[in-house]
């Protein structure tokens, strides 16, 4: 069996149909969209079509609300920095403890610059408390930035409701929807969301292309100034081939959104159920009843994630982990810590994320090898004894911490 790719929240394969529409923009219509000659005369049309394809997927009211950027991170930075530059008197930002580093690192930096950052905590299932959020909203807040769905657990946040609350308090609302795009139906024109980030490579478009949705009328300051591209809101020559590719990918995503929520979800559910039934001492993290259809994050207790990934990789299966060791940091994933998952489990979390390219046969293959992998590593673990964890693991094995 060919290698199995279950790391689609990290990035996805580019759809061959997307590659096909991109190629003419490398080889024929390679003119600068700003030029007036036949090498560029089809480019503006291509960009316009792509803008409309993105608009259709996210349900924006106008296609001019779509600004093409280089990636999700750029969209996130643009949104937050725009909000604070446009409203220099407001010195507070509300976000969550489980955001992507693209938001958290920027907020940490702004904190040093004197901003007050409110990071909303989550409960053990990764859910927010909206009453705590309500109390923080004030005219001091420049922007709220809350992810639509969490990249590690797939847990969905009630962003539409939170945007209404922010709007009622006169506060700008941004959502990082990088993981949610194409998996959850969206109709932004019916919400109070002011800004939204998305990234092409999470939905079968290439890497290096993103979008910032900017609701018409939202006060805005560009991150990059220069030429007139994107109506002066994001200067820099357009990445034409990738923009056209992203447009096609959005069209395909819209076509497949039902498939994602039925067939893809069925694969995820079968894998999750199979693993949790066959393997003792493992559990699903996040909000099981309110998740992306393609994501499951399972904590395997008493063993470490990178070891699991290495053995999975040997079996031809690609997934990812929230362990410290995979990233070279000293702490396991901040998302796991925010949910108060104990260290012995947080280091052993494995995320399987599906796409429409996966099959049930692949699920069966993973179910075949996973119990053996976990058993092999538990045999090496000081927390494991024969068929179960040692009694009182904390006391039975108490290493001198270094």
């Amino acid at each position: 069996m060919a290698d199995i790719y279950l790391d689609n929240n990290a990035t996805t394969k580019v759809d061959p149909a997307v590659v096909d529409v991109m190629i003419p923009y490398f080889l024929e219509q390679y003119g600068n969209p700003s030029s007036i000659h036949k090498f560029a005369d089809g480019v503006a049309r291509g960009l316009k079509q792509a803008r409309q394809q993105v608009q259709a997927l996210i349900g924006a009211e106008h296609d001019s609300e779509i600004i093409f950027t280089s990636c999700g991170t750029e969209s996130n930075s643009t949104a937050i920095l725009s909000a604070i530059k446009a409203q220099p008197n407001k010195k507070e930002i509300i976000t969550t403890t489980v955001e992507h580093p693209a938001i958290l690192s920027l907020c940490d930096y702004l904190e040093k610059e004197g901003y007050t950052i409110h990071r909303l905590p989550v409960d053990k299932a990764g859910r927010l408390k909206l009453d705590a959020y309500q109390r923080l909203l004030s005219d001091q807040v420049a922007i709220v930035s809350v992810m639509w769905a969490n990249n590690e657990t797939g847990t969905i946040f009630p962003v539409a409701e939170m945007a209404e609350m922010a709007n009622a308090a006169g506060v700008m609302f941004h959502t990082d929807a990088v993981q949610a795009i194409g998996k959850i139906p969206m109709m932004l024109q019916d919400t109070k969301i002011d800004m939204l980030s998305l990234s092409g490579h999470k939905l079968h478009a290439p890497k290096g292309i993103g979008v910032l949705y900017l609701r018409r009328g939202t006060r805005y300051r560009p991150l990059l100034r220069g030429g007139h591209q994107e109506r002066g809101r994001r200067a820099g020559t357009e990445n034409t081939a990738s923009i056209v590719g992203l447009g096609k990918a959005c069209e395909l995503a819209l076509e497949h959104i039902e498939y994602e929520n039925t067939k893809v979800k069925a694969m995820r559910d079968r894998l999750e159920q199979g693993i949790t039934e066959a393997i003792p001492h493992c559990f699903v993290t996040g909000d099981m009843y309110n998740r992306l259809p393609n994501t499951t994050d399972i904590a395997f207790e008493y063993i470490e994630g990178e070891s699991i990934l290495m053995l999975l990789n040997k079996a031809g299966i690609a997934a990812s982990s929230g362990s410290a060791c995979t990233s070279g940091s000293l702490e396991p994933s901040h998302v796991m810590r925010a949910m108060d998952i104990p260290y012995t489990a947080a280091h052993g979390t494995i995320r399987f994320s599906f796409s429409r390219y996966n099959t049930m046969a692949e699920v069966d293959k993973v179910l075949e090898v996973m119990p053996g992998i976990v058993a092999t590593l538990r045999k090496l673990s000081p927390y494991w004894d024969g068929n179960g964890p040692v009694a009182n693991p904390e006391q039975a094995f108490a290493p001198t911490y270094s």
Partner: protein, 301 residues
Amino acid sequence: MWDYSDKVKEHFFNPKNAGAVVDANATGEVGSISCGDALRLTLKVDDESEVILEAGFQTFGCGSAIASSSVLTEIIKGMTLDEALKVTNQDIADHLEGLPPEKMHCSVMGREALQAAIANYRGEEWKDDHEEGALICKCFAIDAVMIEEMIWANKLRTVEDVTNFTKAGGGCAACHEDIEAILEKVLAEKGEKFDPNAAPVAAPEKVAAVKAPLTNLQRIKKIEEVLESLRPALMADGGDVELVEVIGNTAYVNMTGACNGCQMAAMTIAGIQQRLMEVMGEFIKVVPASEMAKLVNIEVA
């Protein structure tokens, strides 16, 4: 995924001496569960000769933690306790044909477990002599705790000071922002303010000597010395290395014998580079001599 050596993979996929030694008379347990590594080492020591007859490990940790544990048990079997105490974390890393800088702490954990087990056998209390922080300088594997301690101990004030005393920041310089943040924090604790333009404190004698820029001749001689010391290990695997040219801080080498065309040649070169930087205390780039032809072409063109 990490660029692990074949040796690391070999010990990870087929660990040696996994599990506890049944009638062990020495046990060492070390680790840090927050950073995801913990190791129990059990030994059976001959009471008469103090020779380690058997060694077993149980490890909660990543690929390189398990490989470090496994190779440690192989290294120390048959050694006397006094010999075993001389095993350094670098020895463990060398037996694994190198570890990524972020993973060197796995070899440190192995050495500490060994010390703890021997202390346990001798009825002594083993105390950890260092605390580990987030890795800041990846070129020289220096962590935040080390930098903080040096700032406190030597009244350091600038990034340059930190580089002079710890080597941190002396390579690719990408960590300078992080070092500034540590300086800001520690200086604030001391009631001072970080000033990037402050005059450097006097560098310590020993490091100052290393820090004084080498002449080209000194550099070439040193590089040759280091390469000479590495050749036996390469030759053991049927390979070899020769120095072709040194231009500035770039050393051009030929990988010959089994190294030639080997998939792992790039990693071996990275290992050589790491060792050169450690010994010489300055940034050295090691490049295959084949790259030099391109350089000449560029100059000619």
